[in-house]
């Protein structure tokens, strides 16, 4: 009896919908505020993302006649469901994720791609040239960054000798963060570049470059569907940052300050915020690349770095 209840609690409250939703919207708010200050603007208040999503939820849902299909409607739900599931598999409060012994690294990498794939499906089924073009660009970009990302993650897995994130966290608790491991440094750089592409941030916001193709795959979405897509995207930021935290920053580590016990989730959030702010900085100091330049960059620079780490970890 307790198991289904604790599962429901995990899915809906912590670290599921409520916690993840609140924190990721807040993170995006912080990201927007920090970006604004970097650009010498005042920027919106940090809870602006809540207002935006709330407004979208209350808006009318308009689907263009040629886009009316199950795929177009289900894409936001699929994206949203998959990305919340990732949060249940990440070590958020302690080395143990909410769902123990269910899935490993491979499943998480797979689930992290579902939002991208549902965005592409949504784009292709939206019957708009901008949506189709954005989706085709996204496919190209996916094949660019994903290789570097997977190889970088696998390098860490080989270093630990396990595919389980709990082992990653425990290993780092004993031997120090992988951030400081010189053999994994190229993998770290490669994955920072890859997540910039994964999260569609400048210089890799090519699939939704607003001046070129309006809003890419999201062009025809409106109202609650757009809000769901937006929340899924915001949660993806937190999930990817959380994944990076588990890979390189030692995951959630409880600590004591002056006798007060700070739970692991706080250090998890701080580390995630550090990664989000790193991506914010990168997006503020670069211009958008062209899709061919981006793919070339992923396959030459990022992939080489990741493979370098992979070889180093295997040999030494």
């Amino acid at each position: 009896m307790t198991e289904p209840l604790s599962f429901l609690l995990a899915y809906f409250v912590f670290p599921g919908l409520l916690f993840t939703g609140t924190m990721s919207l807040l993170f995006v708010g912080i990201d927007r505020k920090v970006a604004a200050h970097m650009q010498n603007r005042i920027g919106p208040p940090i809870w602006q993302e809540f207002f935006d999503v709330g407004k979208l939820l209350g808006k009318e849902d308009i689907t263009p006649a040629p886009a009316q299909s199950a795929v177009f409607t289900l894409a936001p739900l699929l994206s949203f469901g998959a990305i919340v599931a990732v949060m249940l598999l990440l070590p958020v409060n302690s080395a143990e994720p909410a769902l123990v012994l269910v899935a490993d690294l491979i499943v998480i990498i797979y689930l992290l791609n579902i939002p991208a794939i549902s965005l592409m499906l949504g784009g292709y089924s939206s019957a708009s040239p901008f949506g189709a073009l954005g989706a085709s660009r996204y496919v190209l970009q996916l094949f660019g960054y994903e290789f570097a990302f997977i190889i970088a993650a696998l390098s860490v897995a080989i270093r630990v000798g396990s595919l389980n994130l709990t082992d990653f966290v425990n290993y780092q608790a004993l031997h120090g963060w992988f951030l400081l491991d010189w053999r994994l440094l190229p993998a770290l750089i490669a994955s920072v570049i890859a997540i910039q592409g994964k999260l569609l941030r400048v210089p890799f916001d090519i699939p939704e470059a607003e001046v070129e193709i309006v809003h890419g795959p999201l062009t025809e979405y409106s109202g609650p569907k757009l809000a769901l897509m937006r929340i899924a995207y915001d949660i993806e930021i937190l999930a990817v940052a959380g994944f990076m935290t588990a890979l390189f920053l030692g995951g959630p580590t409880p600590f004591d300050i002056a006798g007060v016990h700070i739970p692991g989730v706080v250090s998890f959030l701080i580390k995630c915020l550090a990664i989000v702010l790193l991506t914010t900085t990168i997006r503020c100091v670069t211009a958008r690349l062209r899709i061919d330049q981006a793919v070339k960059f992923f396959w030459t620079f990022a992939a080489t770095l990741a493979i370098m780490s992979f070889v180093l970890v295997l040999v030494i």
Binding site: Q39, N40, P129, D205, I206, A209, A287, R288, R290
Partner: protein, 383 residues
């Protein structure tokens, strides 16, 4: 297989409505078609129904950004029609405001260009520094936009001695900022990746398609109305014409930023050399039958006003040819062979001003004949 990407009339890359039809093969552009006319306001006709004094303000409203250029060009054409000489001090003030406007227009453009390549930070910084020149324009003319500085036979407002210090201080800030931006634009890797060898317009194409202004100068065509057909006080001020031979988007960025630096020097020189004296002469509104053409160098390139007077206080016919209109033909060689991702920056690189450009000709599709509408028919169209 090719398919059509419509850009406009509503599109985030366009600040004003205009329609472009891009025929693309994958990401590559094969052909481009342009359709104008969404912003036609009937200003040329409006000018011939107003007196010269009223027309001065209407001409200014052809363009919101290079408003002083239209204002100046209109005033000079009317003065040439009436054969009136303008006092020296007024000529200097006209040139100073024209150069301030050039700085404002180029910085605004640079911000837009940065936005087109997704460099939001640079966009914000350009527009932050543009505020300095806006302040200077407000100081000298009293307005941030639509300066209305020219009057027929002179200028409306004098540059007072207490303005000089503020002007000099503002110019110093602008000079420092612009020098920094030249460094950024020519060294930042992502900017170079997006601008170098993109949208190339060869010197031959630029000359054949009659490109004007910074677009032509970035393709190595050494043409500048301030030097080639001098007006206002430009003959007395030495300055250098910025020419770059490369013809790509980066060259257009560099030409404009160099022009900003040159404009700062021109203003400094003009403030130094400016004679004292009256700023306005008497102007009689009835102008005997005559014809006149004036060309000036607006921030976007050569601007031409042509007027015919008929003895009354209203012109018989007025014609304005704006720089963007002259540059549209040059867009095709820039686009063809490029990719979709280059559309916004290449389109922005000629600094298009759509509302300046819009012309309407009604053509019967079946017969190919064009016809002219009366004012009443034109008014009925939107309804």
């Amino acid at each position: 297989m090719t398919f059509i990407i419509p850009v406009g009339p509503q599109h985030p890359a366009l600040l004003e409505p205009e329609h472009f039809r891009f025929e693309v093969k994958g990401e590559e552009i094969v052909d481009v078609g342009i359709r104008l006319g969404y912003m036609h306001r009937g200003i040329e006709r409006g000018l011939s129904e107003r007196t010269y004094h009223q027309g001065l303000y209407l001409a200014e409203r052809i363009c919101g950004i290079c408003s002083h250029s239209h204002n100046l060009c209109f005033a000079q054409t009317v003065e040439r029609l009436a054969e009136v000489e303008v006092p020296d001090r007024a000529e200097y003030i006209r040139a100073i405001v024209a150069e301030l406007e050039r700085i404002h227009s180029h910085l605004l453009w640079a911000g837009v260009a940065a936005h087109e390549i997704g460099f939001i930070t640079l966009f914000m910084l350009f527009w932050r520094d543009r505020e300095h020149v806006q302040d200077l324009l407000e100081l000298t003319t009293g307005n941030r936009c639509y300066y209305s500085m020219c009057a027929l036979g002179g200028v409306r407002r004098d540059i007072r001695p207490e303005h000089l210090l503020k002007l000099k201080r503002g110019l110093k800030v602008l000079e420092k900022a612009t020098k920094h931006y030249v460094d950024v634009a020519t060294s930042d890797r992502t900017i170079l990746a997006r601008c170098e060898n993109v949208g190339v317009l060869t010197k031959r194409d630029a000359r054949d398609l009659c490109a004007v202004g910074p677009t032509a100068r970035a393709s190595g065509v050494d043409r500048d109305m301030r030097r080639d057909d001098p007006y206002a006080s430009y003959p007395e001020i030495p300055f250098e014409v910025a020419v770059q031979p490369e013809g790509d988007v980066l060259a257009r960025v560099v030409v404009r930023l160099r022009e900003v630096l040159e404009a700062i020097n021109i203003i400094r020189e003009a403030l130094k050399k400016m004679p004292t004296g009256p700023i306005r002469t008497k102007f009689k509104p009835e102008i005997p039958p005559n014809q006149a053409t004036v060309r000036i160098e607006a921030p976007r390139g050569e601007l031409l006003h042509f007027g015919i007077s008929n003895g009354t206080n209203k012109p018989e016919r007025w014609r304005a040819r704006t720089p963007t209109y002259a540059n549209f033909a040059a867009l095709k060689p820039m686009f063809v062979g490029g990719s979709i991702a280059e559309i916004p920056i290449v389109l922005a690189s000629i600094d298009p001003c759509m509302c300046c450009t819009d012309r309407v000709t009604l053509v019967e599709v079946a017969t190919g004949k064009s016809r002219v509408l009366t004012m009443e028919e034109l008014r009925r169209i939107p309804k």
